[in-house]
């Protein structure tokens, strides 16, 4: 039983990071209806931003940790906005396939540039938050898991607040619902899309730092696997649906962790995709999504 709870905690903290990443996919899909392949590499850049900013702070305290986090999130938000402005915006009227291929290109560009700039070897991530272990009976709870879950819950709550309660969030939902109509109502679509990219990229950076904090080695290709899994999480929850992405992330994190702990551990990497294919076959709209018939 202890082992079960231990795995559950590990799974939830892995899932929380997937959830943060999945939110970025879902947000962008919500307004632009395309898969931002480069998102997983913004996550990588976020982790490296955390690494370089973190190295300039010598002692680790909660305050410093939050500062490092906010700085990296800001950096990645800017990066996301730049990517959208120069790679995706010129293609907005073109076919989705063109945008998808461009996104793959941007993803490769970030990975290769990352290998040139940061070096291809894994680097140790600095201790941005103080770490400690709590034991309760046989159960070991690391403060890392608490930080990961705490940060994720805070950010998801904040995101829900922005999307549901603020003016810009209302505008985001309007653009997602019907972009031309929203633009007729006086919403500047370009600003909303930039904002969405910034928001999603900031969340990716947050996930990247948590990833580095939890699994202390990072490298320029670290984003690929978690990125794909997080995308699957977003589809699982119903793409375009914020609580769905969070739920999907947690679910996949927990399932992956349990499989990794079982004797089928070598199959872990295939799990997400098996889930994805099953999901698309039986419930293509996702767990919390609504199926929209395609209009001709």
């Amino acid at each position: 039983m202890t082992e079960f709870f231990q795995q559950l905690i590990n799974g939830l903290s892995l899932g929380a990071m997937y959830a943060l990443l999945a939110l970025g996919y879902t947000l962008v899909y919500g307004v632009l209806r395309f898969i931002n392949f480069a998102h997983s590499d913004v996550f990588m850049v976020g982790a490296f931003a955390g690494l370089y900013v973190g190295r300039s702070f010598h002692n680790s305290s909660v305050g410093n940790g939050i500062l490092i986090k906010l700085l990296s999130m800001l950096l990645c938000a800017v990066l996301g906005i730049i990517i959208e402005r120069f790679a995706y915006r010129p293609l907005r009227q073109r076919s989705k396939l063109t945008v998808l291929i461009t996104a793959i290109g941007v993803s490769l560009l970030l990975e290769n540039a990352g290998q040139l700039v940061f070096g291809a070897n894994p680097q140790a991530f600095p201790q941005v938050f103080p770490a400690q272990q709590f034991t309760k009976g046989d159960l070991i709870i690391s403060s890392k898991d608490i930080v990961v879950l705490g940060v994720t819950i805070t950010l998801v709550a904040l995101l829900q607040f922005i999307v549901l309660k603020t003016k810009i969030g209302t505008a985001m939902r309007a653009v997602s619902f019907n972009a031309p109509a929203a633009s007729l109502m006086g919403i500047n679509i370009n600003i909303i899309i930039s904002f969405t990219f910034g928001l999603g990229s900031a969340l990716a950076a947050a996930a990247g730092i948590l990833w580095g904090y939890k699994f202390p080695k990072i490298d320029p290709l670290m984003g690929i696997a978690p990125g794909l899994t997080a995308f699957v999480a977003a589809v699982l929850g119903g793409i375009g649906n914020i609580p769905g992405a969070a739920l999907g992330g947690l679910l996949i994190g927990v399932i992956e962790t349990f499989v990794r702990g079982s004797r089928w551990s070598t199959w872990t990497e295939a799990i997400a995709f098996v889930l994805l294919i099953a999901m698309l076959l039986f419930r293509p709209a996702g767990l919390l999504g609504k199926l929209q018939p395609e209009k001709v």
């Binding site: 898969i35 073109r94 076919s95 063109t98 490769l108 990497e269 995709f273 294919i277």
Partner: protein, 335 residues
């Protein structure tokens, strides 16, 4: 274009492949290697072009089909072959067995294509891309878990059966089949599916069937290319057929122009030559009078960047591909 007379082209290409196979031993081995890579890449790119270009689907899992073909044919020539023909089999037997292994690899890959295609082709656009990507990933995990096929280490010591004859023969056959197929009455359905799926359905075309057939045929030739690749590099492992490999093939199709076989052949050739050329360039030093020679080593380091920049700038500036001049069929749907 020259592909307007496919049968003549096929005969000429096969004649070329016979001749090149015969004189292979008199050519510099480095050139033979480069030519072999070109032939394999043409087979891969042309077969992917059937799926991504003509049928208008977007597959990111071509390397997965390639892996299936490579493993199947390698298993046949490595494990089953020696048992059937014990020692010192004549060359003819080896060649026939190799042909059989290649075809078997292609068929198993086609089956895999059917298996993936049937459920997932009900999906569209980016979902399909992700499912095929996931399929490629799953294939790699499956091969990693089969101990009999070497697990994560892969297979080593595959017999070196691939030569220029097989490679160019396969490339010619792929091109012939894809071209004639697309130009047949039946193949018009692919183009219709690509241009407007709803309208095609309204005209009574079974679009799902068209897509599945495109997928199966594309996978078959990818499997054959995989077999050739395995018997060329003599060692295969699951890592060699990952996402990056699929992307390489996709880039060839995009650079050549989706739905433009001639362009794709040119692109596959150039993109195989490009790294070789850059490697030579990176090894050169430009002598400057009175100063240290200018080293070009940075070109080698920037090579991976070049691919991504090429991809992005093509999409922004010339989405119909570099080698598509006529805009008859290439108008990308603005949805």
């Amino acid at each position: 274009m020259f592909l307007s007379r496919p049968r003549t082209c096929l005969l000429v290409a096969i004649a070329i492949s016979v001749v090149s196979g015969a004189i292979q031993h008199h050519i510099d081995p480095y050139f033979v290697d480069v030519l072999t890579s070109i032939g394999i890449n043409i087979t891969l790119a042309v077969s992917l072009n059937l799926i991504n270009g003509y049928a208008g689907q977007f597959s990111l899992g071509h390397a997965g089909f390639m892996a299936v073909g490579a493993y199947t044919s390698a298993a046949l020539t490595m494990f089953l072959g020696p048992k059937l023909f014990p020692s010192a089999a004549p060359t003819v037997v080896t060649m026939v067995w190799f042909l059989f292994a290649l075809l078997a690899g292609g068929c198993v890959a086609a089956l895999a294509g059917l298996f993936v295609g049937t459920p997932s082709l009900r999906l569209r656009g980016d979902y399909l891309a992700i499912v095929t990507l996931g399929f490629g990933q799953i294939i790699a995990v499956i091969f990693r878990n089969i101990e009999g096929l070497g697990g994560a280490l892969g297979l080593n010591g595959i017999p070196a059966n691939t030569n220029l004859f097989w490679v160019f023969g396969a490339a010619a056959l792929t091109t012939y089949v894809v071209t004639t197929m697309v130009n047949s009455t039946y193949g018009r359905g692919f183009l219709a599916t690509h241009d407007d799926e709803v309208a095609a359905q309204a005209m009574g075309i079974d679009t799902t069937r068209c897509k599945v057939i495109a997928f199966v045929v594309g996978a078959f030739f990818a499997g054959i290319a995989g077999g050739l690749y395995g018997h060329f590099t003599l060692t295969i492992n699951p890592k060699g057929f990952d996402f990056t490999r699929s992307i390489e093939i996709v880039v060839m199709v995009i650079v050549g122009g989706m739905g433009n076989t001639t362009g794709v052949i040119i692109a596959a050739t150039l993109l195989t030559l490009l790294p070789e050329g850059l490697r030579t360039l990176a090894g050169m030093d430009i002598p400057l009078p009175g100063r240290e020679p200018l080293s070009l080593r940075w070109i080698g380091e920037l090579r991976p960047l070049l691919y991504s920049i090429l991809l992005i700038s093509l999409m922004l500036l010339r989405p119909q591909g570099l080698f598509t001049w006529r805009s008859r069929r290439v108008k990308l749907k603005a949805t």
